[in-house]
Symmetry: D2
Subunit: 104 residues, 4 copies
């Protein structure tokens, strides 16, 4: 991988609007708690499935938003610095991640 291990523990500065993502994740955490409660109270199965579809959609929205930020910042930066190998490695990482998302 093009990204050294120590770098992954640093701030990357690629997220355009961190507060927005924080709020979306806080809402997703609330949705997860709501589903746990529905299971505890044994709510109607179909209603729980509807909530699981909703939270899955919300998570995918976060994922594709972050991916957009990542491609715009990290990949374009590497390309502009003429670091072809780094840019290609990042794109490979990104498409591998997309593959996992599409299949998850």
């Amino acid at each position: 991988m093009a990204v050294p291990k120590e770098e992954t523990s640093h701030h990357h500065g690629y997220i355009t609007d961190k507060e927005k993502y924080h709020q979306r994740m806080a809402r997703i955490e609330g949705q997860a708690r709501g589903i746990t409660k529905m299971i505890d109270e044994e709510k109607y199965c179909i209603d729980i499935l509807t909530q699981i579809s909703a939270i899955t959609k919300a998570l995918q929205g976060v994922a594709t938003g972050l991916l957009d930020d990542h491609l715009k910042h990290c990949v374009l930066d590497a390309a502009k610095q003429d670091d072809n190998a780094a840019a290609a490695a990042m794109i490979k990482e990104a498409t591998d991640a997309i593959n996992r998302l599409v299949r998850s």
Copy 2:
């Protein structure tokens, strides 16, 4: 919908192992909090996407498990009571829910 509103607030008794689902959801809540933290600390995008794929898979496991329970209990019960209309309506609800899951 075949299921009257008031019924959805009752216990349905279709979940075979409620404790197992409760634990899986508790783990999912923890994963969601972990992703929020990764965003706050601006961890590497691809690592966050990997976590989102993992939580999505876990949620889908809960969904298809509940669906299995639902089909085994509610639908078969209706079929055995010769309530064809109720059984068909439940199956329609179930396949609509599957459609939403497949597309989410």
Copy 3:
């Protein structure tokens, strides 16, 4: 599996409207040929991806339609004949298939 090998080569009679599914699949075959042609002519990547999303949606529509037919016919029939083991085995098969669909 609950379904013996020889049975899978017989007609099952569960498809409510075979002509409709035949036509939908014929359209899907045409869409696949169209995508091959787009690749041969090296059309713009995003336009090809849009077509792949469309054909995937169409295939999932066929899948959930067939599943609905299957649950309505095979599973309910087994339930009505009080063949609990057969009905439960079919539902297990169905939810395994849903799992593969959700993750594909």
Copy 4:
């Protein structure tokens, strides 16, 4: 959109191995014909669903492969030519396409 209509009818030259994609699509067309035949012969529902999962996975493999090619060629080219607006517009198009794939 950043890509003018007339350009989409030109060859784009971004596909690294056109022959490979042509062969994968030819196999997908064959799989689609096989599913049509299974429906005509009313094969067991679950076996048809398994084939639909397989063809869906194959299509998504084509999609993410093309996306990888697209990002590597079109987007990096724009970035290197310091055409920030074009590169950002292409990435936006790409993440919109990913969104449709993830949800299809």
